[in-house]
């Protein structure tokens, strides 16, 4: 007969830790993704359009 498994010492404490880590990892990933989107959609700086010879020289 194959050897039967038995619960590991500290199992519930480790499951509690895994639960908290999983939750933190999930929420961090979501919030980082949201922040990236906000950065991408932020208005890009307006390019200066030359209106005179002086502007063209300074560009």
């Amino acid at each position: 007969m194959t050897k039967l498994g038995v619960p590991k010492k500290g199992a519930v404490a480790r499951l509690r830790k895994l639960y908290n880590e999983r939750r933190e990892k999930t929420l961090t990933a979501i919030r980082e993704k949201q922040n990236e989107k906000v950065e991408k959609t932020t208005e890009a700086p307006v390019k200066k359009i030359a209106k005179s010879n002086h502007d063209l020289e300074s560009m």
Binding site: L18, R23, T26
Partner: protein, 245 residues
């Protein structure tokens, strides 16, 4: 007979049982930190580890375990979804989620179960499906981003930590831990006699047909049925706080 977890060590030391049968509720309590019996289940499993006593379960336990986690994680995820999207939401959906957050926090503070029932989940699914953000609706965002990463690993982690042993019931294949093959007819009779859910009736029937002398559960209703059906021949252990007023 129903016993408290505080009697578990004494029983284990004296009786040297071949194993304990774990039902869904005790495995859920042990794997969900906000469950009211989390600390008590920790003490019980530490005793099993100290005395190297195997824990048995059935495939019905796995299915029901995941269903319980789904209901708990959706409740948590709705609060997280609201926290992350509150400024983008409006109208009845915003109000519904805010009401849920208030009730969820109250349940956590009072040490009550936060699991949603099936009708509540359906109602949130319908409401969130009407909220669109980029190419997905709110329900898809909730499930794909919040629920899935948390739900997917929970069974494997639990099974590894408790090194669970499964009692199989393939036709004509009597497990060495079964006295007789559990029949569907008997499970239905148990459902009828006690009015319990089909998953619970199948789990209980498997335990009753097994050679495992003791059950761990945090469900008093199931404990009472098990005690009555086993006619004093098996021990049913429940958290002390579940029977102490």
């Amino acid at each position: 007979m129903i016993q408290k977890f505080s009697a578990l060590e004494d029983y284990t030391k004296k009786q040297k049982p071949i194993g304990f049968f774990a039902d869904t509720t005790i495995l859920f309590s042990a794997s969900h930190p906000s469950d009211i019996f989390n600390t008590e289940s920790e003490k019980a499993f530490e005793i099993l580890a100290d005395y190297s006593v195997p824990t048995f379960a059935s495939v019905n336990v796995r299915a029901e375990f995941l269903e319980n986690h789904r209901r708990a994680y959706i409740a948590d995820s709705l609060v997280d979804f609201l926290e992350d999207n509150e400024k983008k939401l409006a109208g009845p959906l915003l109000l519904k989620l805010q009401t849920h957050r208030k009730s969820h926090r109250k349940k956590v503070d009072e040490g009550r179960s936060t699991k949603l029932d099936l009708n509540q989940i359906k109602s949130f699914r319908l409401a969130l499906s009407e909220f669109a953000l980029e190419n997905r609706n709110g329900w898809e965002i909730l499930c794909q981003d919040y629920l899935k990463p948390q739900l997917t690993p929970v069974w494997d982690e639990t099974q590894i930590e408790f090194d669970l042993n499964f009692i199989s019931t393939r036709a004509n294949d009597l497990s060495p831990f079964l006295d007789k093959l559990p029949s569907w007819e008997r499970a239905v009779e148990i459902m009828g006699e006690y009015g319990i859910a089909s998953a619970d009736a199948m789990i209980l029937n498997m335990f009753l047909c097994s050679k495992i002398p003791a059950l761990l559960t945090s469900d008093l209703e199931l404990a009472a049925c098990a005690a009555r059906e086993s006619r004093g021949e098996k021990y049913i252990f429940v958290p002390d706080s579940s029977i102490e007023v």
